[in-house]
């Protein structure tokens, strides 16, 4: 009985902590929205973050997107061959990339590369009193640090998703047509026949939401870092884990709403 109560107590505490954290993240989000519409707009900071999130992530996104497209073609081919439907490989790759894997894989990659960096950078600024210094100089840290990062992520994750979608289909084409000898005309025709522009648009909306999630959580974890180097490490790890889970869970609900 005592063990049961202890377990219940632990569960309750964990739930409370989770709810509290969700509340704090929501409060931060509201504050970011309020500060992002209040001038002056710091275009230079936003562009700097866009370069970091977007331009410097292109190689990573191209690499992962290509291989995801390639492996989808390979797996799809072996599956469809069982009932002679190899011609559907192209459209499967294209639909899978645009609707699902393009946005999700890109967001997970950017979480690992940039969400973690946001947490680490803001966490270091917190423990070295740089965030306090901003407050002391009557400068709002949300406006200076979080708004540019979130705007950059919301714009750049969809852009990277376009790249990922494209190279994924190219990778699928290479495997399907050149390695598995599917007719290239059939491969392409099925893509144009079965993939709708809305598939791409909805995928990009998802990507924007994922960009918001990964930057909001990365900044939240960094901003609320406690302790020294260990705290920064913990904030970074937690931001990657929480963002990845939130991206995958929200993906289900967004898909259920959109398609």
């Amino acid at each position: 009985m005592k063990n049961f109560i202890t377990a219940l107590d632990l569960l309750g505490k964990t739930m409370m902590r989770g709810m509290e954290e969700a509340g704090s993240i929501a409060v931060l989000f509201v504050s970011v929205v309020a500060w992002s519409v209040r001038p002056p707009f710091r275009l230079k900071d936003i562009v700097k973050q866009m370069e970091f999130v977007g331009v410097r992530s292109i190689f990573l996104v191209v690499l992962t997107g290509t291989f995801i497209g390639m492996v989808m073609a390979l797996q799809g081919y072996h599956g469809f061959r069982m009932f002679g439907a190899e011609s559907l490989v192209g459209s499967t790759v294209a639909l899978g990339m645009t609707r699902e894997l393009g946005p999700v894989i890109t967001a997970l990659m950017i979480t690992g590369r940039c969400g973690s960096a946001m947490a680490a950078e803001l966490g270091t600024m917190r423990v070295t009193e740089q965030i306090d210094a901003l407050y002391v100089m009557a400068a709002n840290p949300v406006k200076h640090l979080i708004v540019p990062r979130m705007i950059a992520a919301i714009i750049m994750v969809p852009m990277l998703t376009v790249v990922s979608d494209f190279v994924g289909i190219v990778g699928g084409y290479f495997v399907g047509v050149h390695l598995l000898h599917i007719n290239s005309g059939v491969f392409m025709a099925n893509i144009t026949k079965l993939v709708d522009l809305n598939d791409i648009y909805n995928g990009l909306v998802k990507a924007a939401v994922f960009g918001l999630i990964l930057s909001l959580i990365g900044c939240y974890k960094g901003f609320n870092t406690k302790g020294g180097a260990e705290g920064v490490g913990r904030a970074t790890t937690e931001s990657v884990v929480l963002s990845s889970v939130a991206i995958l869970v929200s993906d289900y609900f967004l898909t259920a709403l959109m398609f």
Binding site: M125, T128, E129, D132, A133, A138, N140
Partner: protein, 248 residues
């Protein structure tokens, strides 16, 4: 000018400030002394509104800053400059950008005016031609001086110093002390310094306040503090293990 009245602050079960009263005079350097972890930094953070007391008042020029909203508090903060313990320079910006930050944030100065002001403030702290360097390229003493240049960029009335000489060699300690005194005089500043470096305390302090167990137990001129027969002050100044200050 700065008054703290019956300030209480606890973190969880730990009482840090316990009915603290303190008055800081305009145009003088007041040094707050006390053991490490005794709440000196917490006290300083209350003065600039980074922390809010559980109860009590913090008056800056007669205004109780504990009751202000963010916007009003920011107006008060423009009267302040602060030098943090590790200088807290923005490591993604150059030295020049760091010193220019408050100017860009709160003035409508043109770029060439900003450049001139930055160079002038850096000259005041004894640095020349370091504008394009990154903070990571500077030594600890230089970082503190840049931190001070940034703190005085807007010509504040009050400058807070969080352990300005901790971690510096004796020569650099003296240089920083001299700099605090010179800056205080030339800008007619009210300086609040927290420190536990006994030599520096008497070098720069025009008034010294001793914080012990969450209260100011003595406040007076260096002579008064030096000749005090309060056992806590005697033990602190002598640096002895035996006495009312318990070592945990």
């Amino acid at each position: 000018m700065i008054r703290l009245i019956e300030v209480h602050k606890s973190f969880g079960p730990q009482k840090v400030l316990d009915g603290l009263n303190l008055e800081i005079e305009r145009g003088k350097t007041t040094v707050i002394i006390g053991r490490s972890g005794g709440g000196k930094s917490v006290l300083l953070k209350h003065v600039i509104g980074l922390l809010k007391p559980d109860s009590g008042q913090v008056l800056i020029d007669g205004v109780d800053i504990t009751k202000l909203n963010d916007r009003e508090l920011n107006e008060i903060r423009k009267k302040f400059g602060m030098l943090f313990q590790e200088a807290a320079l923005f490591d993604s910006m150059t030295v020049g950008e760091n010193v220019a930050f408050p100017l860009r944030e709160h003035t409508k100065m043109k770029e060439d005016e900003i450049r001139d002001t930055v160079a002038e403030r850096l000259r005041v702290v004894g640095l020349k031609g370091v504008e394009t360097k990154m903070p990571s390229e500077l030594s600890g003493g230089m970082r503190k001086r840049v931190g001070l240049a940034r703190a005085i960029a807007l010509r504040p009335q009050i400058v807070l110093f969080d352990e300005p000489t901790t971690g510096l060699d004796p020569v650099m300690t003296e240089a920083v002390n001299q700099l605090i005194m010179d800056t205080q005089r030339s800008f007619d500043l009210t300086c609040v310094v927290i420190s536990h470096d006994v030599q520096s305390i008497f070098r720069i302090g025009q008034k010294i306040a001793m914080l012990h167990e969450g209260r100011i137990i003595a406040c007076g001129t260096p002579d008064v503090i030096e000749t005090s027969d309060n056992p806590v002050i005697r033990q602190f100044l002598a640096g002895s293990i035996e006495g009312p200050i318990k070592i945990m």
